[in-house]
Every structure is written in C-alpha cells, then in structure tokens.
Amino acid sequence: MLKKIKVVIWSCVFCLVLQGAALAGRQADLQVTPDIIKSSFGSTQTDVKITGYVPPGSQVFIKLVNAPKTVTLSEKGKQGIFWLNKENVQIGGLPGFYTVLCTEPLGWLPDSLRAEMGLDKDYKSLMQTAVVTDAASGKKLAGGEKMQFVQALISMYKQKGLYQERIAYINPEKDGSFSYHFLLPANISPGQVAVQVYGIKNGQIVAQDENSMIIEKVGLAQWIGDMANDQGFLYGILAILVALAGGVSMDILFGQIEAGIVNLRRKMEQEREAANNADKKAKRELTQHM
C-alpha cells in the first residue's frame, strides 16, 4: 500500500515538473510585421506590428535592441572664460537603439528575473557592458569616469527617442494573444533589430520568443548617404553639378515669373489705355452729335 502511495506521489511530482517545464519553455509565437523596413528620403516613423501569445493573465515585456556601435564623444572643460574640448573618448558595446515596452513597470519584476531577461532599470546592465576608451592614449576608463560618458550618450539617445522604457497598453486577449503597434523612429542606424518578448506570471517566465527585423536605407537617402561616405570624389562633383543646375533653374524660373508679371502689367495697361481711348472716342462722338 505504501509503495502504491509512493508511486502516486512521484507520478504527481513528475507531472507537475513536466507541466512547469512545458509552461516555462512555451514559445510566445512572436511575429513582427514588417520584417524588413525600407527607410527612404522623407521616411518618418514606421508602424511596426508586434503580435504573439502569452498564457492568460501574464504580463508582457517586449525588448527591441540593435547591434552595438562605436561612438566618439568630446568632453568640454573651462579654459579661461571659454569652454574648450578637454578629451575625446570612444564608447563601444552600447546599442544605438534600445526600447522596452511593458505592461508593468520594470520595478515590478524580481531582481533575479530582470537580470535573466537582461532588463535593468535605468539601463544599468547596458552601462556595465559599455567599453569606454580614451581616444588619445587608448586607456580604458572605469568607475565614475566611464559612467559619466555612458550616461551622457544614453541621455543623447533618449532625447532622440532611441532609448525608451515605457508602459505600453498591450492588453492580451482572453486566450493570451496580443497585438501591439509600435512607432519605430526613423533615425535608427540600418541593420538588424532583435525583438524579444517575455510573458511573466507568478514571478516566472511562462513564455518567451525572439524574432528580428531588418532596417534598410533605400532609394535616394541610401544612395546619397552611401555616396557621401564612400565616394567623396564623385559626390563632390555631383554636389557642384546639382548646385549649378539648381541655381540656373531658379534663375530661369524666376526670370519667367518676372517676365510673366511684366507682360501682365503691360497687357493691363494696354487694356486700360484702350478703354480710356474708347471712352474718349465715345465722348467726342457724343459731343459732335450734340
């Protein structure tokens, strides 16, 4: 009898473990539309649709992040009455775009879970991974000296709308499916943007998935940007020719407008003169008739 009870208990435990494992590993079936964003001249924010599934009653956390890029910053210092450049540093390891959309504030998550998901309040984990190097000496900066540059860059990114941590009204349906529209800023560097979604319930990750989208610069903007950077010689000639053509076109255009206005004035004067003459003639005829 005791043996039977033991078997039942172990079976229950096994089932619970299996269920838990299945729940934790469940895919959120994340879809991002469009998966390729073509940014052209005049492109503004792009409407990105993020859909997926989380178990009912879960909170949703979505993270969008692109590849790290190296940026050079200058620090000003006071010399006399002026503010001059004191030093240049290079910051690597920090993504140029980092956005977290969540149904609850990040503080709602337990610390261990936040660390597991790579989500920290006020970008703390990003600050740790960033590498700051003095451009002149090549020496790596640490501590407060490093942090002031990383914080300054993150605050520039925040001003440009590239770094965001915000509550989003995702509202999953009763079956757990959700659909959220996000306006992607136009000033993100071309490349891949990784999108990760987490479903959190009872302090645990109950669903997660990852997908990505590609940002491509196309058309005139891409062509001009690439040419300006890679083919300076040809770009310089093009810039001169476009300017010369633009200047001459403007001259012709305004010349035509000016000529049109002069002709119109002349025509109006002629018509007025003709009307006056006709009036005089009529008066003369009337006088003769009388």
């Binding site: 000003k76 210092g77 030093e87 940007g225 001169i240």
Partner: protein, 301 residues
C-alpha cells in the same frame, strides 16, 4: 513633414529648413547682402551638426551665386585678370581651410573655433552696419564715404589692371582670395562681405566691376570648398543645400520687392541688430555652459 537628411543624420521639418533659407533669402534681398554668414549659425541652432551646416552652406552658395555671376559676366562687369588671381588664392585657401576643418574636428574643437570666428565676424559686420546706418540717418556719412584710401596702391610690386583701371600687387589679391577661401571652408560663407569693401575702398575698383569680380571669386571658391569638404570631411548634404536654395531664392525675390517699398537706412539698423543678436547668442554658448559638457565629437555627423 519631417525628413531625415542623409549626411547631416538629423530628422528636421522640411518647412523649418525651407523657412530658414527663406528668411536668409528675404534678408539678403532686402539688404543686398549674401546672407551665408547668417545661415550657418541658424542651421546650427536648428540642430544641424556645425560641420555639415558650414559645408552645405558652401554648396548652397554655389547655386545662389551662379546666376549673378552669369548676369555680371554677360554685361562685362568682370575683371577676369584680377579675378583669376583672387580665384587662385580662393582655391588655395579653400583647400587649406578644409584641412584646417579636418584637423579641428579631429581635435574636437571645430565647433569652438567656428563659433569664435563667427562671433568676431558678426560683431564687426553688425556694429559697422549699425554705425553706418546711424550715420546715414543723421546725414553724416558723406565725408567718410568719399575718402577712398586705396591702400593696395601704396604697396610695392604693383601691376596695372586695365579693365578696372587700378594698380595693385598680385600677392595682395592672392592673399585676399586666400583669406576668403579659408573663411569659406571654415564658416560656409561666400566672402563677398570682405571682398567688396576691400575692392571698392582699398583697391579702388568701380563698384559694378567689384561686384562682378567678387561674385566670380565667391562662385569658384564655393565650388572648390564644396568639392574639398565632400572629399575630405564628407559633410556636404545636397538635400539640405537644395531645400535651402529653394527657400532662399523665393525669399530673395520677395525681399528685393519689399526692399523697394521701404526706407533702406532704418532697415539696415534692424538688420544690424539681428546680426548682433545672433552674435550674442553664439557668444553666450561659448562662455556659459550649455546642457551637457559631453557632446558628439567632430561637430556631429
């Protein structure tokens, strides 16, 4: 409508850029000045990186000066012999100036040097224009204006230029072109505001020939600077330059017509005050710390 300018790397409202070009064109048409010296600071205030603002302004000057150059060329208002010496100086100065910009960007002090140069230049232009206008209003300008020193004629190694009917040393003209070229690369200005007073008062050229000859130098120097900036610094934004051109062309047409209806001296006082206000804003940025002491290196982009 916001658009992303591909070289400047900033998202700006197209009407703002068009409007800035329009305002500068309007002032240019009203007061008969080039206006390049106001456009670069205004673009910087709008958020365009300083290096891109100056280089794109030069590109816009190519477009803005071509029609004037053609018009003066057709009526024979150009002293080609004298002008080509200044053009040679302008090309050398433009190339040297572009290298100077490259060096200053690498040092991280381009923005500082640009603002200091602008403060000095706007102070000189604004205050001299203000004083001249005040003198004109009180009808005291006549004595000062008629005295032409012809300083260049006092220098050794003179050469006679028959079209202008003046004597002037070649090195002084080359030096003038060189200065204009350096300032053009550094600040994105045409340089007419320096050349015209020098050619009229210090060289003694007739005003119409001085205007035509100065325009030739402005055009070729701006062409050279646009090319060098594209090659060395990659800071010319064609989109930005063309939208500015569209705005400034329209603004200038309106300005010329409005200017005919208004009294010049009073307007020049207002214009000089605008120039001085821009100077004070730049001076304020230099001596009073802004939001952050840490900025993107190299004047942006």
């Amino acid at each position: 409508m916001n658009i992303l300018f591909p070289v400047a790397g900033v998202n700006l409202n197209i009407m703002l850029v068009f409007g800035l070009g329009g305002i500068v064109g309007l002032l240019s048409g009203l007061f008969g000045v080039g206006g390049g010296f106001l456009l670069t600071p205004l673009l910087m205030m709008a958020g365009v990186p300083p290096a891109v603002a100056a280089a794109s302004d030069s590109n816009q000057i190519v477009a803005a000066s071509i029609s004037g150059t053609m018009a003066h060329g057709r009526v024979g208002n150009v002293d080609w012999k004298l002008g080509l010496i200044m053009v040679a100086g302008g090309l050398a100065g433009g190339t040297a100036g572009t290298q100077l910009v490259h060096f200053l960007r690498a040092q991280g002090n381009f923005e500082f040097v640009l603002k200091v140069t602008y403060v000095i230049m706007l102070l000189v232009i604004g205050s001299s224009m203000f004083l001249e206008s005040i003198r004109t209003i009180f009808k005291k300008q006549a004595a000062g204006r008629k005295q032409r020193v012809k300083l260049f004629a006092l220098l050794p190694g003179k050469k006679y230029f028959p079209v202008s009917g003046v004597e002037c040393p070649v090195y002084a003209l080359f030096g003038l072109g060189l200065l204009v070229g350096i300032l053009s690369a550094l600040m994105g200005v045409g340089g007419g505001f320096i050349m015209l007073p020098v050619l009229i008062y210090m060289v003694g050229m007739p005003t119409a020939v001085a205007v035509g000859t100065s325009l030739i130098t402005v055009l070729f120097t701006a062409v050279s600077v646009t090319f060098s900036q594209s090659l060395v610094n990659h800071t010319v934004d064609i989109m930005l330059a063309m939208i500015l051109l569209l705005g400034s062309s329209m603004g200038a047409q309106i300005g010329v017509r409005v200017g005919r209806l208004l009294k010049g001296e009073q307007l020049r006082v207002i214009f000089s005050l605008i120039v001085l206000a821009v100077m004070i804003k730049l001076m304020h940025d230099l001596v009073v710390p802004g939001g952050s002491m840490i900025t993107l290196a190299g004047g942006g982009n």
